[in-house]
Structures are given as C-alpha cells and as structure tokens.
Symmetry: C2
Subunit: 384 residues, 2 copies
Amino acid sequence: MRILHTSDWHLGRIFHGIYLTGDQDHVLQQFIQLAGEVRPDVILITGDIYDRSVPPTEAIKLLDEVLSRILMNYKVPIILITGNHDSPDRLGFGARLLAMQGLHLIGQLTDRLKPIVIHDSFGPVYFCPAPYVEPPLVRERLLAPDAVNHEQAMLSLIQHLSAPIPEGVRRVILAHAFAAGGEESESERPLTVGGSGTVSASLFQPFNYAALGHLHQPQEVGSEHVRYAGSLLKYSFSEASHRKSVTLVEMDGAGKTAFETISLTPRRDVRRLEGYFTDILAGPKNGESRDDYIMVTLRDTGPIMDAIGKLREVYPNVLHLERPCLTAGGELRGPGADHRRLSEAELFSSFFEQVTGTPLSGDQNKAFAETLEQFYRREREVRA
Amino acid sequence: MRILHTSDWHLGRIFHGIYLTGDQDHVLQQFIQLAGEVRPDVILITGDIYDRSVPPTEAIKLLDEVLSRILMNYKVPIILITGNHDSPDRLGFGARLLAMQGLHLIGQLTDRLKPIVIHDSFGPVYFCPAPYVEPPLVRERLLAPDAVNHEQAMLSLIQHLSAPIPEGVRRVILAHAFAAGGEESESERPLTVGGSGTVSASLFQPFNYAALGHLHQPQEVGSEHVRYAGSLLKYSFSEASHRKSVTLVEMDGAGKTAFETISLTPRRDVRRLEGYFTDILAGPKNGESRDDYIMVTLRDTGPIMDAIGKLREVYPNVLHLERPCLTAGGELRGPGADHRRLSEAELFSSFFEQVTGTPLSGDQNKAFAETLEQFYRREREVRA
C-alpha cells in the first residue's frame, strides 16, 4: 500500500497582510503532478485544510480544483479529516455522495463514524479517521463519560474506530492532535487555551502508520511510524528553517512501513535576514531569490530614513522589519515584545496589567482561557 | 419525461427574527417523500437555494441531507442553478464530482457551460441551466458585448446554451430571472436596484418547458409552459394568501407538457388577522392552528396594555402587530410607513430627506442605486 500523506494546507491563510492563495496554488499544482507520478493507493490529508471555518471563496475554488483533478484524472481515493481550524459542517457538504467518488470528507463525529477500508494485493487496510473534536462532543456523541480531556477523548475515539477492525489486520490512523513531545512553531493555534491539549504519542503506537496533522514542522513523534507531514508552506517566520514536504509511505503486506519525504518548491520562500543595512542592501547571494517573503533584522543603531522602503527596492516582499538595538532598554523590550509572537493569553494578560496595574489572578486567567475557548468553539461551529 | 420543479427554498431564512430552518426541514421531508412517490426522471431547483451567500451551517446540513437522501434512495438526478441570493463558488464545491452522482450544481458561468442531457423512452431532453448572473459577467465570460442589461444577457445565455442542441429535439430551460409580467411579492430581493432587471417572457417560449425561479408566487407567465414554481414557504405576510406548491410536469415524446401543482403542508401557516382585540382573543376558528405565524391588525382606537403579550397567550407565534388607527394622521402614516415594507432605496431616500431636508436628486438616487448594486454583487462574490 502506497500512501501519500499531507496536512495543514491552511487555504485562505493571510501572512503579514498577504493572501497566500496564489502561493498555495503554486505548490498544490506540484502536488497534483506528484500524485500523478507516484500513483499512491490513497491520499491522506490530516486537517486544517482551510485557515478558518468560513474560508474565502478563492480557497474553496482551489480545494475543489485540487481534489477534483486528482480524483478525476488519477482516481486516487482521498481521505480528509477536519482540523481545529475547519468547520465540519461546511466542509461536509455532499460528503455521502462524494464518498461514492472516492472523496472521503470526515468532520462530523457521530457514533456511525467508522474506518474506511482500502485494499491492496495483500488484503485490506483499515483507515481510521479521527477529526479534531472537543472532549465534550466525544462524551456526548460516543457516550464516553471518561473523555474529560484531549487524551481521554482520543482514547475513546481510537477505541470506537478500532472496534470493527479484525485482529491482525493492517490499520492506519489519521488524527489532528498535538502529540506530546512534538515540536511546535508559531503558526499553530493551541488546541486548548492555557491547558495542555496534548495526547500521548503512545496512543498511536498500535497502528501501522499514524498520519498526524496540527504541528507544522514535518517530524516523527516517539517512533518512526508516528508522523506529522507538516504544513504545506511556511506560515510564520519562526518556520524559516523548516524543510516542508509531503510524506510518501510504503507499507508491505505485514504492515511494515518505509518513508520518503518529498519537497515541493514554493513560489516564494520565507526567509530571515539579519545584518547591517548596507550589507543587506547588497542584495541576494547566488541562488537566493529577491522575491522571497523576507523578515529583516537590522543591527544598525543609528537612524535610517525609510528603511523598509529602501529594503523593498531590493527585496520587494519584505514583510517585517525589526531593529532590536533601537528598542532594547527602551519602552519596548526588543523582539520579545513583538505582539505577533504573543499568544492571545499573553496579549490579554499584558493588556490587563497595563490597564489595571495588577497582574491577572489565577481565577481571572482561568476565566479568560475559558471564554477564549468558548469563542474558538463557536467559531468552529461544532454544536452538540 | 416526468419533471418535478421547485424553487426559492431560501434555506437559512430569518422571518421576523425567527430562524425558519425547522419549518423548512418539515416541508422538505415531505418533498423527499413526494420524490419517492412520483419518481420523477429529474428534479429541477431554480435558484435561491440559500437565503444568503454565506448560509448558516444548519442550512448547509439541511440541503446536504435533502439532496443526499433523494439521490441515494431514489437515484433521481437533480439539476440546481444558483439564484441572486446564492454564492456560486460556495455552492459549487465538489460540483464536478457530484455531477457523476447525478447532482448537477450549476452556478459558475464559463464558456463551457452546456446543457445536461437526460433520456426517456422517446429520446433525449436537453436541460439548459441559466443561473443568475450579472450582465457584466455575461459580457466577459461569453464574449457577448451586447449583454448590456438582463434582457440581453439572458438572450446571450440562451443562445450559448441552445447552440449544441440538435434541431427538433426537446429542450427545457432553468432560469433565475424576473420575467416581465410576473407578479412580485415582498420577499424577493430586486435583481437591479432602481432599474428594471426584467427579461421578456417570450425569450422562454421556444422551450418545451421553462422552469423559472425568483418570484415567490407560483404562476405561469405569458403561457402555460413558462412557469414559476414559487417559494418553498411563505416568506412575508404579503404572501399570506399564496398557495405554495411544487410543480409536476409531464412531457410527452413531442414535447407537449401537462402540469399539476402539489402542495406541501407547512409546520405553521403564515396568516394575517384583522379585527377588534376582544374578537381576536377569542382564538382560532375550527381548523385553524393557534401555532401559525400571525400578523395582527387591530381596529381598536383606545389604549391596550401589553397587547402583544396578551395576543401571544392565544397565538404564541404572533410576530407582528399593527394598529393603523393609532398612527393614521400622526407622525407615522399608517401601515404604509412600516419600514419592513420599504425597499432599501425607499428607506434611504426617506432617511436622506429627514436628515437634509431636501429630497434625493436624480444623480444622488443613481449613485445610491449603483452603490447598493455593487454591495449585492460583492455579497454574492461573483467576480470577473
């Protein structure tokens, strides 16, 4: 069984004010071509397809285009689970009819959720889709009173999904979750605000392959066959050093797996430049593109007139400029005070302290975290 | 060929503050059953499926449920065009794949738009889908410079769609348009603000059947085979006397058609009551339901404490109360001044006059009409 695993496309994403749909289109055209070349038996997409529950129409058209072309040209079945950014109801339109065409959109949690079975010459493989769901929904829909946190909720989901699988048969799980031990970057939205939200990577051990989504860095967690495919593109400057890729998995008849990561070439890379103004103005080195999305950190201490304007004459897509020397010791405390790097909880706590003069108490912190979670939950429109 | 024609479902509609999804569900369950009983060769849905371009998730789930059940249980193909309330991009997700399952979602205008051919024992019938589109889009996408207004745009669309149909073969058009001579009610949004927006009914004459959407009153326009199916439910109190229905069309081998209108029973009717307070408090007559959505017009002149509260003890769903005697001659000019019955243009012109003391000039009126149209166009997210 040949499996192509990709994740966290975040279609409709806005990066420092720029819509990335064109960049996403560029990479996804390569993905379509790749699917035609490697001809996998199945494609797995493990959540955060869209960047928000009501995506812009360009994002909807792009997803439609990519999935339709793969299915119509190559007849490769696709299994897609929703992540914490997606709306299960919106993505789920037509799901039952689309499944007959080989497009399995899995977002809704019901007690009828079950594995999708795909055969190769060695027999069946059971693919268990575990879309992102909040623990209260698992308690209600699967009648699982123990699902009080993400760990227990995932356990209940796995038990439910595994029940119909015969002993000794190959099994793959698709999950959108934060596996403990995985490495975060700055562009994932936390699964719970102020809480842990993690699940043990060991939960995924019994599967022959665990296709994970949520963390944006491609990585294995705990063991080689428990893997994040990582995001489609670099979605924050903290990911500048990531090597984004999709994962090609070959599984033999005994369920043993081998892996290959395949890079796709972005239209523009995301890079950080640090140095003195005049050096940076000298422009890109051989092999570097001046069109990349650039964050510049200047070491200069003196005044520079219209620094960003001049930088953009050399690098038209400079999106962010930092001058740590100017702000260190001043009222801004250097790059650490960049509000774009703070979580909602940190932002609010800093605002609260500035306004009231006292830090947030534990209870207040908790109240804020709960409110924020409710807000995200509503935004995802997951209703009981 | 047996055709079931329905239109203007407006899923997600809010009626005087009440979400109608439950009422729409109630009637659509009957529609599913009807489809199973009459077993049409095709179902036509002629636009305004949703009430707005970004519908609430309940509306999406309901549409998914209805279409999936009809297709999966009865295998009746469905052709659905978008109306002026729908977003072609959002409704179009998965369209190419869904078409293979018999669900034809037609919203996008491209030069590849063509008839859908369905056969009966007499041979093929060509179904020409003409979704709601603005004239500028027709000019651009069909390279039709003459499409300067809705009339010309529809003509271009019809010519484009008819081109591949062989001479003498039966043809049906689906259109979402305001055919001149048709009777409006208060719940359709005008197709052009301050303009005509109408198209000649004679454009539809050459078809063996014209399945129209937009007007909410079931009616024929000009001749028997050019018909509005009307809306799913009564969507304003001005429609209290309408008889809502779906249309069953039987077409013979020569393309001659016979019609039957079939009523579905709403969970709650929409009714108007007029009279004296004490008489209305006496309650419903035999055969009338106290649960209907009610608008009450009171003839009393004296003061009545908490009239609506007392009326709701008898009719829990009184949604609107009018007391024309109290307002006649006063600052309000009676029911005519009810802002809910004014168009956006009338509302704005009255507001403008109140604030500035002078009426809108012709130019100002035109500027407002253009702005409003732009707004609607953006809302529909139809982009060139």
